[in-house]
């Protein structure tokens, strides 16, 4: 062995003070729990998006047949027919306000989960929905 290799090995052989393993395990469980919660939120979010997409797609596909459904009878919808113009305007305003408020609240609540595009991808990866690091998954098999 050359002296260069000796130096390299002696450099790496220095003593390392290892922190308490029990404490590490405790923190690790905290992280696992947190990630699990994130994963669940993410799965719920993705499911909701898929359902919304499916419903929207279904409605779009059947747009020409909507008049067959009683609720959508043009001009005579029982919901719209009973509301006069002033009431309707007030209803719209309140609805818009509520929608903005609820959307803001949702985004603030979910900011932790949907922090950034990259984080979202990482979460999808963690939840095994997509696979970011193909190389790793094959290498990490036993």
């Amino acid at each position: 062995m050359t002296s260069f290799e000796d130096k390299l090995i002696s450099f790496s052989g220095r003593h390392i003070a290892v922190p308490d393993a029990d404490n590490f395990v405790k923190r690790l469980h905290g992280t696992i729990h947190k990630r699990e919660q994130k994963r669940q939120s993410l799965i719920s979010g993705v499911m909701a998006a898929v359902i919304l997409f499916a419903v929207s797609f279904g409605v779009y596909q059947n747009a020409d047949r909507l008049e067959e459904i009683p609720f959508f009878i043009s001009g005579e919808s029982f919901l719209i027919a009973e509301i006069d113009d002033d009431e309707l305007e007030q209803f719209d305003l309140k609805f818009d306000e509520d929608l903005v408020y609820l959307s803001a609240e949702y985004l603030l609540d979910e900011a932790d989960v949907f922090g950034s595009d990259w984080e979202l991808l990482k979460e999808l990866d963690d939840a095994d929905i997509i696979n970011l690091e193909y190389e790793l998954t094959t290498e990490e098999q036993s």
């Binding site: 050359t2 260069f4 290799e5 130096k7 390299l8 090995i9 450099f11 790496s12 052989g13 220095r14 390392i16 290892v18 922190p19 393993a21 029990d22 590490f24 395990v25 923190r27 690790l28 992280t31 696992i32 990630r35 963690d126 690091e133 790793l136 290498e139 990490e140 098999q141 036993s142």
Partner: protein, 173 residues
């Protein structure tokens, strides 16, 4: 109790078996990252990432290789992932901010963490991995080869190239 038995217990629903596995291997994993990163906080972060991956993958682990070999494979992947991210980060942040110099180490001296690591980080992935496992964990070439899924000869050749590249790089300084 052997690692294999602990893995089987975990796969049969005994969650505490995972804790036992972590406690058993934590010191080795932490030392590897500490030698690599020279920074306790970063070593701790990398350890967390490693054992999170172990937790996620343990139910699928087939006990075909030793648990420690699999754990090293994951550790090496986590380390290489970190290097890759660091490389991208360097594009946006100046080198001075990225390089970590542990207290009391002068970057001018090559035989310090601050002097040696920049040179090791420049090595190709295979050579860097062999150096990490062979010199920092002092594993025999047979074990290094198993972890990297290459032949023992290839591990030796990569180590030889790594050492000569490191020597050249450090002599430049």
């Amino acid at each position: 109790m052997k690692d294999r038995e602990l893995v089987e217990r975990f796969q049969n629903g005994v969650k505490s078996a995972f804790d036992e596995l972590v406690k058993r291997h934590y010191a080795e994993t932490f030392s590897l990252y500490m030698r690599m990163a020279g920074d306790e906080m970063l070593a701790d972060d990398l350890c967390q990432e490693t054992y999170l991956r172990v937790y996620r993958g343990l139910t699928r682990f087939r006990n075909e290789s030793a648990f420690s070999t699999w754990l090293y494979r994951i550790s090496v992947n986590v380390a290489n992932s970190h290097f890759r991210k660091e490389k991208f980060r360097k594009i946006f942040v100046s080198d001075a901010e990225v390089e970590r110099h542990p207290a009391g180490e002068e970057p001018d001296d090559v035989w310090t963490h601050a002097g040696l690591w920049p040179a090791i980080k420049k090595l190709p992935k295979k050579q860097r991995t062999v150096v990490m496992l062979r010199t920092f964990q002092q594993l025999p070439f047979r074990e290094v080869a198993k972890i990297m899924d290459i032949t023992e000869n290839s591990a030796k050749v990569n180590f030889h190239h790594a050492v000569s590249n490191l020597r050249k790089e450090l002599e430049k300084e």
